[in-house]
Symmetry: C2
Subunit: 200 residues, 2 copies
Amino acid sequence: MATSSDTDSSNPKRDQILKTGRELFWKFGFRRVTVEELCREAGVSKMTFYKYFSDKMDLAKTIMNDFGEESIARYRAIMDSDLSYPEKVYRLLRLKKEQTEAMSDEFFRDYTSQADPEMLEHVQEMSAGVFQMFMDDFSKAQQEGDIRKDVKVEFILYFLNHMMEMVQDEKLLALYDTPQDLAMEFINFFFYGLIERDRK
Amino acid sequence: MATSSDTDSSNPKRDQILKTGRELFWKFGFRRVTVEELCREAGVSKMTFYKYFSDKMDLAKTIMNDFGEESIARYRAIMDSDLSYPEKVYRLLRLKKEQTEAMSDEFFRDYTSQADPEMLEHVQEMSAGVFQMFMDDFSKAQQEGDIRKDVKVEFILYFLNHMMEMVQDEKLLALYDTPQDLAMEFINFFFYGLIERDRK
DNA sequence: GTAAGATAATACATATTTCGTACAATAATA
DNA sequence: TATTATTGTACGAAATATGTATTATCTTAC
């Protein structure tokens, strides 16, 4: 797993390439962005690019990796905090929204279709890791009485995954004065249908 | 000006190509989209594509042209309606927002950098036409007392062009509970700072 | 059913783009 | 000043896109 992200000795040029790569890949996907264009946007010569990254895919791997690690860190930061469980879930939602907005489907699709098997495996390992963390946190929350004992974890995952889509559903939105109202409706539903009854 | 938009005999395949072209060009710009990919997405063979359009640029021209004509038609529909002047301006704003959201900068940049001079001229003529219409409508509104006599048309144009950016300004947004509040603030400012005093 | 026209699938030669590297010139740095 | 990092340009090789030709398949009106 020798991607260029291992050595993070802050390097302005390399950082600039990473930053530009994120922006362009996020926006247009992997295959639609050329190395030349990326260098132009980053204000960096092609030689410098190939100095820090072996090729375009290497950059993509680094970006994916950084993104994954950052996501995990932020997830852990929320779950390990002293916040109430409802507040934690709320922040997870915001985190998810922020991230799915940032990362384009395009990039992920291009990436998974062109990355080598080794790296795909790594991404899947990270995903599996997050899933396991979520499961553990969920069990803990059940044991501590934050969540009803008879709720399936799959249901929660499904609900979280779809909540952001639902709150953007046109027909639903039409029923509320503002998008915020609908979001609030969902969050209330989520908690007051879920939280242990004898809790405040 | 023999683009393929002249003959609009409804043709499902051709329409499908136009629709897909709009989607992909809007999203990724002109040069990032290939004919092959476009055909794939439209569910159409390459032969069919080249039957209806001489090449990719021809499709882009048609899309641009349709977009321009549709914009002009919608502008006229608003201005020629019996709505109050404030209501007209409000609808123009919404129209502008809708359209700038739909049309990506990418497409416009790619287009203007690669389209032939003849077509560029055509786009500019359309723009000029809209500008002239706006000027005429503005004069009319001044004569009819909807707008103060001492306001420069350039100011209005500038203000309208920047209003949508301003209502999305982070720092401004931070001052209001909801984005809607800020938008309302702007619209109120626009009208009550502009409308003839002796009008209701 | 069948003939005619439209569309798809495939293959292909050509043109264009992109990639990755080499090398000389320039800027930054210690 | 010596050294290192970076740029700009050029370039061949590889990959990709273009536009056309051909043949097969699908529609549909008769």
